[in-house]
Symmetry: C2
Subunit: 325 residues, 2 copies
């Protein structure tokens, strides 16, 4: 089994490569080979006995997708994307990487010939949805992105379905919740505070909360995200029919619930490190994001996420080993 | 006012050009100039006093979209497309014309600069939806095309919304029902019988009905389709918000209701010209098509369609002048 991951230098991409390396198998078959692709050099998983090729490449560059598809990976995890903020700031770059890069890969697979038809797991996003929302977004709610990033993800979902229907690839798109707790340093993403108000206090550092505690959002841990990707590579796609993309399960929780879980996990002293500094811009952006989903289809197919922030904090503690009070 | 129509040699495109020529105005402003574009030579509208440029051009050819956008039409009706059957038979041509052609036009408009921001009316299709359907497809039902044509239309809807949100153009997408009664000769489209079982008997000719009389579908006359396009060019798009595409009103009716209307309009002798010759392939294709819609948004915005097949037959008689019993 040859597995390819695009976006393999990203946080989720790296965790996925490590998980596959640790398992050593996918769908019950041994993984002999991994190809890890990103625009910056991916780190190979530690302890993996098979062959690993780390490639620095941009799928939107002519010939790159053909080269990669020509290696005929059995399973492709397509995670490569520029993030929402950058796709909004740089219109042309967003379309080039997130749409044309993905489409180049679809086309290269189609044109590879000889019946080549890999399992293709596409990391989509809840950014394909746009306000106003129903109380819970169900599996038949329409895709109305309100960012260029969300538009690019929604278009790739449509292409994935059509290329799958045609038999060019065996695609499944999974819409990831906001990943929390994201390890590492604070970043400037509008969503960064959701992780920051847990991660920084756990590291004994101050954190800023720019929105009110009643803000509700949709979360899953990095470990859950990796589980979604692996499960998507392993399930029988025949049950998907023509509807190849799915909203993943997650936890609908308020910022207040996050903070209460932090209090239970690390005590009042951790909570005291959070200071509320309202930011109108971030408040407005976050108000346009989904808060809750009814993910019946994905749950029936066996996708699972955490059910509380206590679980999410426990996962963070196990996987990232922060200091505990 | 300069109006451009792509796909102007098609049935709806030509009727639209004639209607605009007859009106002489759009949004209360005189039309001084029309640019009619198609891959075959469009016919200029008769009796129009303004300038008409008829162009034979393919939007997917390099430079064509830039040339057309460079003429800075105030309103663009983008109707050009290859039809469903051909897009399914020729994957590459379908994507080249229906996706890349449209995107080239969007891009040319974006890059024209100097604040150029035309009203852009995009002819989409109910083919953006795919079975299984609810009893009525509402304004928030998800787009799940089950043909490459429907996929290409759905992608253009997403691009239209994003380019509009960015202020590059002022877009509105309208999803046309099946047009009936389509004038002219029988064609080989799977949907052709919906018009044929009315048109041929009205012309004293035999018609074949390949499905059962209880098949339900979604219809509007060619005149209604032209009205939709003109209304879309004239309404205040601010009320659309981020949701730039709309399912148009139509008539949900069964084949049996069509035939009863034909009986009332042209007598039993006309109905006797229809012979039922069941065709399994057509029956299966048609079973995957939408039957009924709740088009609340479009109706609130003033879009109107026929309410019975009697009306549709009266429109056909007035516009195409068939023999009446």
């Amino acid at each position: 089994m040859h597995v390819m991951i695009t976006g393999a230098a990203g946080m989720v991409g790296h965790k996925l490569a490590q998980r596959l390396g640790d398992d050593g198998t996918l769908s019950g078959r041994p993984i002999e080979r991994m190809t890890l692709v990103d625009v910056v050099e991916p780190t190979p998983p530690s302890g993996f006995a098979g062959a690993v090729a780390c490639e620095v490449a941009d799928l939107s560059t002519a010939g790159v997708a053909d080269d990669l598809a020509g290696r005929r990976p059995d399973v492709i995890f397509h995670l490569a994307a520029i993030v929402s903020g950058e796709a909004e700031a740089d219109f042309e770059k967003g379309y080039r990487i997130n749409l044309d890069g993905g489409r180049a890969l679809f086309e290269a697979i189609r044109l590879a010939g000889d019946g080549y038809c890999p399992r293709f797991v596409f990391a989509s996003s809840i950014a394909v949805f746009g306000a106003p929302f129903p109380a819970k977004i169900d599996d038949e709610f329409f895709l109305t992105p309100q960012t260029s990033y969300g538009t690019q993800k929604a278009i790739c979902e449509l292409l994935l379905a059509d290329y799958s229907r045609r038999g060019f690839l065996d695609g499944i798109g999974i819409r990831l919740p906001t990943i929390c707790v994201r390890p590492g340093k604070p970043n400037k993403a509008a969503s960064g505070f959701f992780s920051g108000i847990l991660r920084e206090p756990l590291n004994g550092e101050k954190a800023i909360l720019p929105v009110s505690q009643d803000v509700r959002h949709w979360f899953a841990s990095p470990r859950a995200a990796v589980n979604f990707l692996v499960h998507a590579a392993e399930i029988d796609t025949a049950v998907l029919g023509a509807r190849r993309s799915l909203s993943m399960p997650g936890l609908s929780a308020t910022v207040g619930e996050e903070i209460e879980a932090l209090r239970r996990f690390a005590g009042q002293s951790a909570v005291d490190l959070i200071s509320h500094e309202p930011d109108e811009t971030i408040t407005r952006i976050v108000a346009g994001w989904p808060c809750d989903f009814d993910t019946k289809r994905a749950e029936e197919l066996g996708f699972k996420a955490e059910k509380s922030f206590d679980e999410i904090l426990a996962v963070y503690s196990e996987d990232e080993g922060p200091a505990r009070s």
